[in-house]
Amino acid sequence: MKRLNPLALISILAILSTSCGTLGIGGGLKIGMVTDIGQLEDKSFNEFSWKGVQDGAKAVGGTAQVIVTKDIADYKQNIQQFVDQKYDVIVTVGFLIGTDTLAAAQANPGIQFFGIDQFICVPADANDKECKGKVPDNYQGLVFNEAQAGYLAGIVAGTITKSGKIGAVGGRSDVPPVVNYIKGYENGAKSVKSNVQVLVNYTEDFNAPDKGEASAKTMISQGADVVFQVAGLTGAGVLRAACNAKVWGIGVDVDQYLSLPDLQSCIVTSAEKRLQNAAGEAIKRFKDKGKQSGNYTNDATNAGIGASPIRNLSPVPAGLEDKIKQATEDMKSGKLKPV
């Protein structure tokens, strides 16, 4: 019997392994997170949302688990897995999974759903474009005040520009969050340098780095020495153009100094959605106040937005960090409106 019989071996080991106990069962709330397509350690939406979910779980004495999504077709199944395992809270990440999250929330009223970066829109009927339908009691979209984050980025841009010209490249002009970011940015820059000139261009495309690069190049040739990207993948081209021209780029949504390591050398800051904070706070809200519904805006009042740490500048211009802090305080108190 020299021959290895792998089938028998495997089956014996499989039987043995049933005896090793179940993992991850603790007391308290069971919180599950389904990621956006990609990987968990993406230094972007997935990673920071997951950190937030873990923070939240710790704060409420619960346990957290995550399923990483590799294909859009798996969204439903991944959410359902947490439903079948009787999880109390399910957090889903990114706008693309919104449709499946809404359906799951409607089908499982006993489970709380949070959608990170999902603006929930339930049309009342086929012709309703204003989201007049009823959002389920157990589903809350976590959205962000982009104008405030853009304002803080604008303060940075207005402070560091030498030419007095700065630029912003947007993805689409008909997507409100993009427009809000850029409006806030303009006003933020003007608050520190009232005569600053802001060049704005919408590429009308979120997936075309080449268009972003071309657009940013034009702005830089017109004298802009800081460019802010609010354009998804198109934005990577914007930042690349900044790097090539040795001017400053400003990232968006997450700290892109971390998420885009190739472009680190020219990213000075990012207008940030504080995903970690938003996810953690959402779980605490559910624990304290019960079912959460509607769209919940994360802004300066709940530390939901901010400017990423200033990078690559040494020394950091005098007073810049104080100005950011002061503006955040003023937005918190309602004294300062970014748009």
Binding site: S17, C20, L23, G24, L40, I72, P123, K129, F206
Partner: protein
């Protein structure tokens, strides 16, 4: 009994490759466990594989998930396998899949309010035809100009992604969403037959397995495809038209890939958006190789890969083993299939005649050393 033995002779290398891949991946899991919160755990692979098994087959919904995940891989595997039978390596399944999915999404959405018996068949048909058209392009180029299908299909994959992104952005974008996507397919969706998600597409996929098998084994066309694959010169000498067969096979391959996209769209996803990934496209190549281009082999290979996909969530929840392990296993399976000498040595499988013809096609087409398989190329 002899039939069983014959079947085992064909299946032994793939089965051993899978086992070997699981063993090597187990080592990876153990090693990586030392870097995680769980700490060093030599039994972690067993716990993970057990959850994988339970997740995929341990409950009716698990089995349903496995079948639903396997269905597009069956179509995709058949698409690649059919090409390999004719000596063609279609790497364009990813692109043909997307084109098929998009066509079904658009036609489905425009008939979302029509009766299911009208909208659904038309949406499926649109996906199949779009895939076929997209497969015809490299087929035609190869037949006419000798342009290598590996090169053209890879490029057409990128062309599909970008073209469809543009189309969703600017042509068929649905109102009311903050991101570009098509409207929901509504009534055109493939009906769910059993449970929560076992849709009609699964039945279509299994039917396709037997249809393709019948075509390959029992029809003149199938005979010609196989002959052209084995030796185009001999096929020409025998009065067949290798040029025509090449173009036709790529078209049919594209049709099957388009159907993969169609059933995925109408059975599972429900709308097209630029973020849609076509992991099915590349997994299909692995499925075809593991199934040795044989429709029945592809059926089992697709079920295995579908089971991996369906079992992975439970594995992640209960053992915190990352889903990337699945990718490692799938890659290792292909590695061991290609390097079958390792498998033969380890398991003392007698060396047989050059059995894995499809792998030879892959190496041949990549190396480009067989001008005879590019009919018309020398003209």
């Amino acid at each position: 009994m002899t039939r069983l033995r014959a079947a085992w002779r064909v299946a032994s290398i793939p089965v051993y490759s899978i086992l070997l891949a699981l063993l090597v991946a187990a080592v990876v899991i153990i090693v990586s466990s030392t870097f995680t919160a769980t700490g060093f755990d030599p039994l972690l692979p067993l716990a993970a594989y057990l959850r994988l098994l339970i997740g995929a087959f341990g409950s009716p919904s698990g089995i349903s998930n496995t079948l639903v995940a396997a269905a597009p891989l069956m179509f995709g595997g058949l698409a690649v396998g059919l090409g390999l039978k004719a000596g063609l390596f279609n790497i364009g399944v990813a692109g043909q899949f997307l084109v098929g999915a998009f066509a079904s999404a658009v036609v489905g959405a425009s008939l979302a309010g029509a009766p299911m018996l009208v909208g659904m068949p038309l949406a499926v048909l649109a996906g199949a035809l779009a895939g076929a058209a997209y497969g015809f392009i490299p087929g035609f180029l190869k037949a006419r100009t000798g342009a290598h299908e590996v090169v053209t299909t890879i490029m057409l994959n990128n062309a599909a992604t970008l073209l469809l992104t543009w189309a969703v952005n600017d042509l068929v974008r649905a109102p009311g969403f903050t991101f570009p996507r098509t409207a929901a397919v509504g009534e055109s969706a493939l009906p769910v037959l059993i449970g929560r998600n076992l849709h009609l597409g699964v039945v279509l996929a299994v039917v396709a397995i037997f249809v393709v098998r019948w075509v390959l084994d029992r029809t003149t066309l199938g005979f010609e495809i196989r002959t052209v694959g084995l030796n185009p010169e001999a096929a020409r000498y025998a009065g067949m038209r290798p040029v025509f067969i090449t173009a036709l096979t790529m078209t049919l391959s594209g049709l099957l890939a388009g159907l993969a996209g169609s059933i995925q769209m109408l059975g599972v996803i429900g709308f097209y958006a630029p973020g849609i990934t076509a992991s099915v496209g590349f997994d299909s190549i692995a499925v075809a190789l593991l199934g040795r281009s044989d429709p029945i082999g592809i059926l089992f290979a697709a079920l295995l890969f579908g089971a991996f996909r369906a079992g992975a969530p439970l594995m992640q929840i209960e053992t915190s083993v990352p889903i990337e392990v699945i990718d490692i296993i799938q890659a290792l399976v292909i590695l061991f299939l290609a390097a079958d000498l390792i498998v033969r040595r380890l398991f003392r499988v007698r060396a047989a005649k050059p059995e894995i013809a499809e792998l030879q096609t892959v190496t041949k087409t990549w190396g480009g050393t067989t001008p005879s398989t590019t009919p018309g190329g020398g003209d």
